[in-house]
């Protein structure tokens, strides 16, 4: 069986419709295509790379790490010089993925569920960071922590993340605060925490946790996944009882009658999230599951760039 031709040869995968792209191959393959497409479209950074890169020499001073002594210069010119680098420390990022039952839902067959969308987004994002030689970890949670992969920058780390993404989840709750706190603990020094969730959870707990992470010096990015119907209530149904599969709450309405008011309510909720996270100094971006993966990836990548 031959592998399908890379869509990047014709259309960049990061710009493709998520549902169409997901049908072309496995998570691993798809994620590579997405990252390849994204990097092909990026402009060259004025920071000139993210990995350890030589910048200049300075005179040796007692106490300097001898690993950075330029031995070649010392041998040739008998000068004791220390090599200095632009980046001396990799980014340590932890991606926190919500795998609760509310994430496992889609409004139309041609769409990805929020969970499937989030998994592909996490896979692509972690690969992107690893290629930048950053350390990436993963935490999956529902009403409890389902997977914890500590941040590492080695290539095999991505395989670990992919394996973790395949583990079960879909519990009846979302303990995002616990997961974010765990992410903060996994990163011992200043790093980045990326939360991928539908945010159908307790806003106050999230708020407190994000503030705590920010107090620890971490950069926090929240990618708020929304099915298009969750935003517009564009449900092809008449008078129906709508049930929250996670909490069991329900309400009987006719979508056509309340669509406008519902849209206003969701917009207000998003604005509240935006204001709440902006107040905490976190970056927040609502992402529709019908948007190409390149959109949230660029948002997350931009957040990384802000750190360096």
């Amino acid at each position: 069986m031959t592998a399908p031709a890379s869509p990047a040869a014709t259309v960049r995968a990061d710009l493709m419709d998520p549902g169409t792209l997901a049908a072309l191959g496995r998570l691993e393959v798809i994620s590579r295509w997405i990252v390849d497409g994204l990097l092909a479209g990026l402009h060259r950074s004025p920071k000139k790379g993210f990995s350890v890169e030589f910048a200049e020499h300075r005179a040796y001073q007692p106490g300097d790490d001898l690993r950075f002594m330029d031995w070649k210069v010392a041998a040739r010119a008998d000068k004791w010089l220390i090599k200095q680098y632009e980046e001396e420390t990799n980014l340590r990022a932890t991606i926190v993925l919500d795998v609760s039952r509310s994430m496992d839902w889609k409004s139309r067959p041609q769409l990805l569920t929020k969970l499937a969308y989030g998994e592909r987004l996490v896979a692509a994002l972690s690969l992107l960071l690893i290629r930048q030689r950053d350390s990436v970890g993963l935490i999956r949670f529902d009403d409890q922590l389902r997977s914890v992969v500590p941040p590492k920058s080695r290539t095999v780390q991505w395989k670990r993340i992919l394996t973790a993404l395949a583990e079960p989840g879909a519990g009846q709750g979302s303990d995002a605060a616990g997961a974010l706190s765990q992410a903060g603990k996994l990163i011992r020094r200043r790093g980045m925490v990326i939360l991928v969730s539908d945010l159908l959870l307790d806003s106050q707990e999230i708020d407190d946790t994000v503030h705590a992470l920010r107090a620890q010096g971490h950069d926090v990015t929240i990618l708020h996944l929304l099915d298009p119907a969750e935003r517009t209530f564009d449900m092809a149904a008449g008078e129906s009882e709508f049930v929250d599969p996670e909490q069991g709450e329900s309400l009987a309405v006719t979508p056509a009658d309340v669509r406008e008011l519902y849209g206003e309510t969701v917009k207000e909720a998003i604005d509240e999230w935006r204001a709440r996270f902006a107040g905490a100094g976190a970056f927040y971006e609502p992402i529709g599951t019908d948007q190409p993966f390149g959109v949230p990836l660029r948002r997350a990548f931009a957040a990384r760039q802000r750190l360096y």
Binding site: G238, F242, A252, E264
Partner: protein, 604 residues
Amino acid sequence: MSFLAPWALLLAAAVGVPLVLHLLRRRTGARIDFPAVRYLLRMEREHANEVRLKNLLLMLLRVGIVLAIALAAARPIGPLPGLGHPPTAVAIVIDNSLSSAAAGAGGPLLSRLTASARALLDASNTADRLWLVTMDGAVTGGDAGTLGAALGGLRPLDGAGDAALALRRASAVVRASGVPAQRVVVLTDAQVSSWGAVSTETLGGVPATIVVPEGAPGPNRALTEVVTEPLHWDPRGAVRATMRGADSTTWRVVLEGRTLARGSAKPGAAILAHVQPIARGWASGTVELGPDELRADDVRHFAVHVGEPPAVNLDAGASLFLRGAVDALVQGGRARRGGSVLIASAERARTPGLLFAPADPLKVADANRALERAGIPWRFGARREGPAPLRGAGVEGAVARSWYVLSAVGTPAGVDTLARVGAAPWVVSGDGYVLVASAAEQSATDLPVRAAFVPWLDALLSQRLAQSGAGVIAAVPGALVRVPSRADQLEAPDGSLRAVQSGAQVQLPWTAGVHFWRRAGERIGAVVVNGEASESELARLTGAALADSLGDAAVASGPDGLARATFNVGGSRSLERSFLVLALLLLVAEAIVARRGILKTAAA
């Protein structure tokens, strides 16, 4: 409100569907997973009143839609205030007879009738069918603008017109329109002489609205008759006129534009003017009174032939009575001896000639042969015995004791029957001859011994056998007259000519004046057209009396009343389309409320 299809009201039971849905909305059976229920709950918390109001409004709109459709399907009929009147076919009969020219406090009566007609046209709408019918029977159809223009050009007739004809035509056009709402509107002065004989059947069942002017008509002075004495002036003659009125007035006699006599007349007195005009041949003239409120009947036309008296050749065998009559005419200057007009028994027939049946029955065959030789298309037939009364101009009261049946040969053209005995012709006239079915003997008829014999003979000589030919025909405007023998043209009062065929009928115009028959370019007779004398009697029917004679017509007063009575403003009409439009509007409203929400709708 009534319904043409009331069973369709059962559809109204469908209003229960939105009601039940509204009442049972919390118990709907369909369950759908939707993770973002918390947003729905928040929406309901924050917009509870608005959602409740919107649901109620939607329910009411949907109930209204179902009701409107059910009502439309039931084809309702009823009043619909504020949306004008239902389409109506209206024929406006406007009385423009001679009497409508009478001036009153508000100007000429016709102007007031025209103003009422204009007000009615203003109250019409584009869905109405409109016609204007005048008293000459002319029908003008079109929109309000067209009829308004026709009203602007409307002038009074010189006669009474034909009220029954106008009503029949108005009824016919309205009934032919096919429009359910039909109405004939009669705007008239309700003159007794014109409208008193109108019957209910004239309108053929079409409802009518009438407008009759208020108040009594003013006094009117008029010429009711003008005659020339004799019919042929030699050139002396006289004009005798009859005037009606309550006051004195001046008069004058005009012939061919020249005033021949003038004077003043007392109320009820006859006007007699002896004149001797210079003109010769056929001439037209008028007798005119001083003007009053109704000018049109202050003038009356006449025609006369002026010239030498006819020259007659009396047969030697003529009866004693005939000789005496001719002697009287000669002595009176009404005839001359030695001319070409033969007065004789028919066995010596030739033209021109006044021919009597032979006194001796044995000479009837000779008479018929002589008639054949002279080209006269009549023959004497079987002898009849009387006495039998005679009917005809100048012979009324006389009897025929014996006569011959006059039989026409073929179908003679241009023949006039001047007198009859029973149903049979007794005196016939044609091209150059007058033939009498009895002998000019006392044993055959008592006419020769009657005082009317000499004038009768004078009239025949001057009008049938002299150069003047066809004589004078008195007629009313618009009348049908038969073209006399030998005439080939009719000369109108304005001098225009039109070809006519001898023996055919022609309709005279609706204006007064003198028309002349012409043959080979020469005038040979006249038609004097004057309005009916009865038009000068302005007495009016009451509105109720006229309404009763028109089949319980509605009597209206004032423009608003006329419009209400004519167009049935606020009357019943089909409401089917109205309910369909209402359902459509409710559907649009429902769509707007359902899609946008009432808050945004109100804000917009």
